[in-house]
């Protein structure tokens, strides 16, 4: 799928299930993915032209509509990226449903006499699971009741769009951290430090937000840039260590995550930062002039803010950087094979440092989103939430491609937003969302397993890179 992946590393597809069905099956596979990512990986793969041998072309021409339809169904049911992703989500929700049932003592009790009266168990289970997932949907996409009320004229328009607004609010920072992880991944580095980079970013953004007396627009720009700068500094360290000493970035970024966490805990309670008169660890609030403006008016129910626009812009920028710029080419070359890149005259060390600086800046922007947006306006020890770690999942789910990452972040943002409603309306712990997210990525990462479960036919596109497996 990506240049990185195709670099000759052993693919998991070689496992027993991998029963290739000729070039046709591969033909349109991953087309959606390709057009979404606009990957420039060679003429053979561009657009919808079926690649592969002449056989593929022949089938196409002779077959006509029916043939095309059959091929479409075949490809739909072969293990392409989209199918595997959808099935992974299905599997995760199924396991989530089992968890909901198992963790409800009342429902579990009805399973005790399942053989005597199966309907009890099934009804009770259906009730609890459907309520949970219905609320997940209502909280993330749209609540039919609100639409109904608006149509009747009994409700306002805001509740109709509130779920979407929430989803987008949670999506924005995840896009940034997801991009940060992806970009480093493409350069051959596993950036686990997005959390730490976002933490330093959030600190500098907040400090700039309430310490600098600046006019409105300038203040916001400075605060956002301060966030990026903080992340960049924190990304520079592992990049530099990797380039100079070969220290493995996985270890150094993990360590820096915790250093930054302690630093955040420390700086909050310092004089000038700590909010006077508050006993708990919370900083002064960011000035209004440094806050990202809300997009849909100042209604508190519609929290979506400028961050999501910046996130889309960042996605486009990273996409451009990766696929259209000289540096992007060098980056991918280094990621694919550092030795070959060095031979070709690319400075591998410089690339590592630069990749990590850019990735760090992206994470820092994600952090800035957390404190300059509507999510929070002051530093607390948990202000960054989990965006860095979630960013890793987002990057993997998005197949380390910019637009894929954006979509994955949208899914995760939706889960987060829906999870909030699920927690308050169906009293199902928000932690279920974490479980779902982890499960989705686990299944994505092991497409061979998904294929085996659903008996899919093998296809080329749906694998995660294993070329990262370089050890410490």
């Amino acid at each position: 799928m990506t240049d990185v992946n195709e670099s000759g590393s052993p693919s998991p597809e070689k496992s027993p299930v991998g029963q290739r069905s000729g070039a046709e099956a591969v033909a349109t596979v991953g087309e959606a993915e390709r057009s979404a990512a606009g990957s420039a990986s060679g003429p053979a793969e561009s657009g919808g032209t079926p690649p592969g041998g002449p056989g593929a072309g022949l089938t196409d021409r002779d077959g006509g509509g029916q043939q095309l339809l059959r091929m479409f169904v075949q490809n739909l049911w072969s293990a392409n990226t989209v199918t595997v992703t959808v099935l992974a989500i299905v599997l995760a929700t199924l396991i989530g449903a089992v968890l909901i049932i198992v963790s409800d003592p009342d429902v579990l009790a009805t399973w005790g006499y399942f053989t005597a009266q199966p309907s009890d168990a099934l009804n009770a289970s259906w009730a609890v699971v459907s309520e949970a997932y219905a609320n997940l949907f209502k909280g993330a996409v749209v609540d039919p009741a609100a639409v109904q009320a608006w149509a009747d004229g009994t409700g306002e328009w805001q509740p109709v769009f509130a779920p979407i607004s929430e989803t987008l609010t949670y999506t924005a920072p995840l896009v940034f951290t997801g991009l940060a992880v992806s970009l480093a991944f493409r350069g051959g580095l596993f950036n686990i430090g997005a959390q730490g980079q976002a933490t330093i970013g959030v600190i500098l953004a907040a400090l700039a937000g309430f310490l600098l007396p600046l006019p409105p627009v300038v203040h916001l720009i400075v605060a956002v840039l301060a966030g990026a700068l903080g992340g960049a500094i924190w990304g520079f360290v592992p990049g530099f260590l990797k380039a100079r000493t070969g220290a493995h970035e996985v270890i150094t970024t993990i360590m820096l995550n915790y250093v930054s966490f302690s630093f955040l805990a420390w700086i909050i309670v310092q004089n000038g930062v700590h909010e006077p008169g508050r006993p708990e660890a919370i900083s002064r609030p960011v000035d209004g002039s440094a806050q990202l403006p809300q997009l849909l008016g100042s209604d508190l129910r519609l929290r979506v803010h400028l961050g999501i626009v910046l996130a889309v812009a960042a996605t486009w920028a990273v996409h451009w950087l990766l696929n259209r710029s000289t540096f992007g080419f060098e980056l991918r070359a280094v990621g694919a094979n550092p030795d070959a890149a060095r031979t070709a005259g690319i400075s591998v060390g410089r690339t590592y440092v630069l990749v990590m600086v850019i990735a760090g800046a992206l994470s820092g922007l994600g952090g800035a989103n957390m404190v300059l947006g509507t999510t929070a306006t002051a530093l607390t020890p948990l202000v960054v939430a989990q965006i860095g770690f979630d960013g890793i999942l987002v990057a993997l789910l998005g197949r380390v491609k910019p637009w894929g990452v954006a979509l994955a972040a949208l899914l995760f943002g939706a889960l987060q937003a829906g999870g909030n409603r699920m927690q308050s309306y169906a009293s199902i712990s928000l932690e279920l969302v974490t479980v779902l997210q982890a499960l989705i990525v686990i299944f994505i990462a092991a497409p061979a397993l998904v294929k085996a479960i659903f008996g899919l036919r093998a296809a080329r596109a749906a694998r995660l890179s294993t070329s990262m497996a370089k050890g410490w």
Partner: protein, 425 residues
């Protein structure tokens, strides 16, 4: 520590005279002198008393604060100078140890002497005991890492294994109202995460670090979810784990300082120390150990000689999960009830200890104790109103590991095949 980074980076690339030993020596000299001057000038004339008991009473080692701070700083500087002079290689570790201990003692003389009046003492028994208690999960976690990584599977999931162990121990221990059942459940809980790690990385060739990270999140989510659904509403039914009582060892527990600190502990303390010895012996003296190490270094060669690489990896990863699971139980079956995300990053410090201890059981033990000491010191300094923020002490393990992997303090090398999936072919 962080100043040392800058100092030494400046001289990183100068081969020849500036060997690693000399660079470290130069750093130690500098650090020792800084300690002597800085801590010496900050220390007060009060006596710093290191009492051999749990309070201010009893026998004590006493030294004037200023004198002590300067003296120990100079000791550290002297050790550094010896390194700089270019002594044979075998002196490196002892001298480095002397330098580190010197700086720490110099620091302590300052802190203890500058404490509020009446609190100019440091109860060594408490410190040693606290160090071991805080190091316990780190020791188990790091040993789990050793078992995994020596056979070539990167174990970033230590955090998840500890958490799952703690959770399973609390849940099953409460339901069965039996500590031993809880302990077994904890081991199995850790093994569950390991099983997932093994299946996905060995069978499905998922990147090991990726899988570890995802499994950590999975464990946090799963235990958090079940905690909120089961344990929080009905704590008495699901979250009142029985406790292992302390088992004083007859004669040994009467030794001053070490006795009360080490030999009046619970089963987990003894188990951890025994495991360190057992795994060390097994790894370096038995057939299993040789095979494990060969699989971790060069699986193809091991395979050629008839070692079943994948089977061995499965077995070791599962064993690691059980060890870490027991480590998690050292929280819930001895100290606290289960709470959400209660491991709170200890698994990653354990990973740091593993790396800092250079993938060896004894090294991991020492590193874990060092990190445990830093943790305990933070608590102590907080109690005497120290001017040193505890947050910076909390950073110490991570900064130390950062320095270690950057090759600034000794060379750190992972098993050669660590993280690489093995595909027979």
């Amino acid at each position: 520590m962080s100043t040392m980074t800058v100092e030494e980076l400046a001289v990183t690339v100068r081969p020849g005279f500036w060997t690693r030993d000399r660079r470290v020596g130069a750093g130690a000299v500098l650090l020792g002198l800084v300690a002597a001057v800085l801590f010496g000038s900050l220390a007060t004339g009060e006596d710093a008393r290191f009492t051999l008991s749990e309070d201010a009473g009893g026998a004590a080692l006493t030294i004037d604060g200023t004198v002590g701070a300067i003296l120990f700083g100079m000791v550290a500087a002297a050790a550094g100078a010896a390194l700089l002079a270019g002594l044979p290689k075998r002196w490196f570790v002892p001298l480095l140890g002397v330098a580190v201990v010197g700086v720490v003692l110099s620091f302590l003389c300052w802190q203890v002497s500058a404490a509020p009046t009446g609190q100019n003492f440091m109860p060594l028994v408490n410190i040693v005991r606290g160090t071991f208690i805080l190091a316990l999960p780190l020791i188990f976690g790091a040993l789990a890492g050793v078992l995994c990584e020596r056979s070539g599977v990167v174990n970033v999931a230590i955090e998840g294994q500890l958490l799952m162990g703690a959770f399973a121990g609390a849940l099953v221990g409460t339901i069965a109202a039996n500590v031993w059942v809880g302990l077994i459940a904890a081991a199995l809980g850790g093994a569950l995460i390991s099983l997932l790690l093994a299946i996905f990385t060995i069978r499905y060739l998922v990147d090991q670090v990726v899988m570890g990270i995802v499994l950590n999140l999975f464990a946090v989510g799963l235990t958090g979810f079940l905690y909120e659904r089961l344990m929080q509403p009905e704590a008495a039914k699901y979250n009142q784990p029985p406790r292992f009582e302390a088992w004083p060892i007859p004669v040994l527990s009467d030794i001053p300082v070490l006795g009360p600190a080490l030999f009046r502990g619970n089963i987990f303390l003894y188990l951890a120390l025994i495991l360190v010895v057992v795994i060390h012996v097994a790894l370096f003296r038995t057939r299993w150990g040789l095979r494990t190490r060969s699989v971790g270094e060069h699986p193809t060669a091991a395979d050629t000689l008839g070692v079943k690489v994948l089977a061995l990896r499965y077995r070791n990863v599962l064993l690691a999960g059980m060890v870490a699971g027991v480590g998690g139980a050292s929280y819930t079956l001895a100290l606290y009830t289960f709470s959400k995300n209660m491991i709170g990053g200890k698994g990653f410090i354990a990973l740091a200890a593993l790396i800092f201890g250079r993938w060896s059981p004894t090294g991991a033990l020492l590193a874990a104790l060092f990190f445990g000491f830093a943790d305990q010191l933070g608590t102590y300094l907080g109690a005497i109103d120290s001017s040193i923020p505890s947050e910076f002490l909390a950073m110490l393990p991570y900064l130390a590991t950062l320095l270690a992997v950057a090759g600034l303090v000794g060379k750190v090398r992972a098993p050669a095949a660590d993280g690489k999936p093995y595909i027979k072919g």
